[in-house]
Amino acid sequence: MSAFSTFLGKERRETFRTWRLWILPGITLGLALLSPVLTRLTPELLRATANSQPGVVIHVPPPTARDSYVQFMGNLGQLVIIAVIIAGAATIAAERRAGTAVLVLTKPISRAGFVVAKAISQLAVLVCATVLGVAVCIATTVALFGAGSIAPFVAAAALWLAFAAMILLLMVMLSAAMRSQAPAVGAGIGLWIGLLVFTGFPLIRDHSPAGLMAANDATLRGRDVALLWPLVTTAIAGAVFLAAAIWFFRRREL
């Protein structure tokens, strides 16, 4: 077994035997269960609030399966992205801080191999968490609301996954470039907010990864959205972030 596959195997076992399992998959699965339930309960909660205040009448249309998916996608776009940022910031910084990178990198594994293995393992966790989350959300939604239109939800989740993967690679780069996890988290959140701001500028939004953030709602409604530029720029950005992560880490002294 090569050094790279040995290290990748360590990453896989570490995912199942440490807190790592509970960050992204735990949060995603929790939200996949809670989002449909909260969507189902929202009208009752609002009516209970209205009943406690005389004179207040709230009309809420009956929630649908699409509302459940919109709720979950909203949570993915905010809470889970923050979890991706935090988990991604630890990718390399945590190994440096713990001193484990020193023991590993004085053995015959290259720094590029180290970074790529870390990125692959984090991406695998993200993909698995998303697939499981989508499956659980669909199952819960079908149980609570009956069968809705699943294809647009799956398409929206796939777009989110592409965006989240790029954010994860951005965080791998920041984790390699910065001295510790905290500033990497700060920079990651700052850049993510910057992309959110870009969604308000159509020209930039339609030709950058910000287009994927704005495409969720339209995709869930089954509308056609021009996604070529956002997808291409997201893929390029992800590749550049990974290459930059390797470049930074090769220059870093341990």
Partner: protein, 327 residues
Amino acid sequence: MNDAGAAAAVTVPPAPGPSASAAVELRGLTKLYGRKAALDGVDLTVASGAIFGFLGPNGAGKTTTLRILAGLARPTAGSAAVLGRDVLAAGNQIRSQIGFLPDVPGFYGWMTAAEFLRFAGGLFDLDDATLRARVAALLELAGLAGVEARIGAFSRGMKQRLGVAQALINAPRLLLLDEPTSALDPIGRKDVLDMIAALAGRTTVFFSTHILADVERVCDTVAVLDHGRVVAQDTIDGLKQRHGHGQRLLVEVDDPARLVQAVAALPWVALVERSGATLRLTVSDLPTAERALPAVIAAAGLGLRRLEADEVSLEEVFVELVGERRP
């Protein structure tokens, strides 16, 4: 002490390029952090097979040197060659032949000792049979055979012994150990030193420390680093002979008080210390003292019971070399 290794590891003159017979060769090695020089033109040669002690006070530059040798840091100037290859250029070719233990080894706390050794061996692409045999042998050597606890629950001593074991998983030609016994209790220190001593003649050990007793116990050659410079390199005996401040004689006579009076004014006596019936004379000229002292004792009418040279300790040599320069 390994006499064969000591004979082979005496300081050699600087060579123009990396020497194939040297396990470690540093030429003008300089490392700057901002304007501060952690290493300031270090020249050092360690012969293959030596158990080499790299001595120096805290902050002298020992860890920086080891980090450069292990490929974890880059020199600002100069060169570092390991097993005849430049460490910057050789990469994996060098790393496959060295073992490294940092001063505070970081392990994956969720692994057991056996799992970590298998992981470390996997990074060297060892075949299954070799890996199984080495893991079993090294767990035994480290006193960790049968320990099923996760490393996160290990004591500092257990981690240090595991650190030495993981550094040996590839049967390295060169073992780099950074302060392997610091912060260990006496039993932990003994265990680690026994492991190092057991390697004599099989692998070159480059061992940094500021614990002089450890060096005297296991090393055959030493270098003393101070403020980023090598101030001495030799065998331990050679260092004592060249750098011992003054030389001493131990004398026992039937009336020590009278001998103190008799020798106090002699020009070659620098210091007289009394401990019970034994006098320790620090002399400026040992051959003269050895010839003249019996006559002085006889002239004073004293009975001589013991007269022998007192060995200068490595600690005294160390203090002479670096003590006065410290702020």
